[in-house]
Symmetry: C2
Subunit: 334 residues, 2 copies
């Protein structure tokens, strides 16, 4: 098959790669569409120890079963592969399984990703494509599940009802935009501000949202004034802004992971009783709920997605890197 | 009256001080007993911007109403004075009131503390002493309410039941010991380890607890193995230990505040979905629940409390500072 192979820091080559071989309990999927995630960019920059070249990246996937028990079915993949047996798996927290592995990673276990014509995945990770969901748009299910899981975690740790809460979203990438769309359309929040430094991104988000879209230094944004803050960036400075802007007794949901360490205002976290909760991927239930929401167009028509040929995927990565593409999501089509 | 006055860094003088003057809605209490808190030590070291000399410290108080509507009643004081009107106050989160002030603080508003013969407090902060609770021991209600609030917050953020959870308590001071006593006797937790660097403190705690009491470098204590960690110390190193020892999907309850800032492993917090929650004081309900628990001897006989004369309070502070006193709690008697 042809695949876009990550061959070294800031290097991607579209070339021949060995076809996946069918194994018991799994299916081979002919990829219809495969989205570029921030974590793929992180790998591309040589900064992800779980993704070591040579490797096919990509874990936001839709396609058609090529080989396997449901041959011919249109499907969406849940790329988070878990053991199904541990305490986390049997208690609906599969995303914390110690043996978890994501498509498009090769540490600790190799699972080639979906920037390719074919990809193999366990049958339990394969979800039928809802009839009303366009197969080209369907990879958006994966980041939407990430956002849904984060929103649900935020709801769980808040001491007041989510739709009565003032919400700040830091970052206008796909996850930030999807959080805002979920909060507006699914959770019926009325007071949301989304901030980003990048004006192009703000403009893209503004078109899709009722929420305010502002630069983070806008004076409308006051200290101690948000019940819930989503940090979808995960820089030291965005975490510091999150703790600055969150209200007493409020919560910070931390989704991004750009800088893994850094200082933090533990004084305020303690004296003002702030909850900080990290969030990773989604449970199987979140993934199914996401497909239900997308099948009902709850998040709108998703016309903000851009499409490129997989064979030209390298240019898409480069444009995201350069900031010359401000689209919240690029999906590659083989 | 005579009072132990904090007059400068590491300086306390037992001397004459102006009597409190009765105002409407408040009562003057003749102090029977007044405990030394870690935050008093923090002030004594000149490190608390809310406690500026000259000031009478002390906010763990029992006594007898000297002047006021319930003259002659034996009482315990809830030292956290709140407005009663704001959104936090009317939603049972009084401890987050923007106008909150604690006895024994003078920033932003002055409220003299209880290391004195007399102290004044609002009537709504005055609780009747339970008949079965020794008035000399009763100041322990305040740190016990802190510990109870922390334990309840921990229970709320955990995704499994508290009594089925493995718990690590960092710090064997009063708050650490009280958390352990509450978890053992009230919450029926079966797997608790309490750690402290100080062998004397560990020995004091060991006498009172069924929990294991160990040094933090003991090899029994494994990475990623506790569902819930209480950091009652709040140093950068204890927070780093907390995130190291907590299990995927687990929670850290942060009570201590020795170092207000510092680095933290946000990578693990995110990828392993750790909840970090700061905790401050207690709600009015927590304070009342604490008195109920103490009146039923749920925490045992409290024979680990040591008593000293208020007039020799300076020596008690010095011994705590030097580490020559390992008692988890010293109560001063005027």
């Amino acid at each position: 098959m042809q695949a876009l192979v990550y061959t070294g820091t800031e290097k991607l080559e579209y070339k021949k790669f060995k076809d996946p071989l069918l194994v018991d309990g799994e299916s081979i999927v002919r990829v219809s569409a495969s989205g570029i995630c921030g974590s793929d960019m992180h790998a591309y920059h040589g900064k992800d120890e779980r993704r070591v070249p040579p490797l096919i990246l990509g874990h936001e996937v839709s396609g058609v079963i090529e080989e396997g028990s449901k041959k011919g079915k249109k499907v969406v993949l849940n790329p988070l592969i878990t053991c199904g047996k541990c305490n986390y798996c049997i208690n609906e927290r599969e995303h914390l399984c110690e043996k978890r592995v994501l498509l498009g990673m090769n540490r600790p276990i190799e699972r080639q990703g979906a920037f390719a014509e074919l990809v193999i995945a366990p049958d339990q990770n394969i979800y039928e494509l809802p009839a009303t969901l366009d197969i080209k748009k369907a990879p958006i299910a994966e980041p939407t599940a990430v956002a849904l899981h984060a929103v649900e975690l935020g709801k769980d740790v808040l001491k007041k009802s989510l739709n009565q809460s003032r919400v700040l979203i830091i970052g206008g990438g796909a996850i930030g935009l999807l959080c805002a769309l979920l909060l507006e359309n699914y959770k019926k929040c009325k007071e949301i501000i989304l901030v980003d430094l990048n004006e192009k991104r703000l403009a893209s988000c503004k078109k899709e949202l009722n929420s305010e879209t502002l630069k983070p230094d806008n004076e409308i944004i006051k200290e101690n004034s948000f019940d819930l803050v989503f940090d979808t960036v995960g820089l030291e400075i965005t975490r510091q802004n999150a703790i600055k802007f969150v209200n007493s007794g409020g919560a910070i949901v931390h989704i991004g992971l750009t800088q893994p360490s850094g200082t933090f205002n533990f004084r305020k976290a303690t004296l003002q009783e702030i909850t900080f909760v990290g969030t990773y991927c989604y449970t199987n239930k979140d993934f199914q709920n996401t497909l239900n929401l997308l099948s009902k167009d709850v998040l709108g028509k998703l016309n903000w997605i851009e499409y490129r040929d997989l064979s030209k995927g390298f240019n898409a990565f480069k444009q995201i890197h350069d900031g010359t593409c401000s689209s919240p999501k690029i999906i590659l089509i083989p």
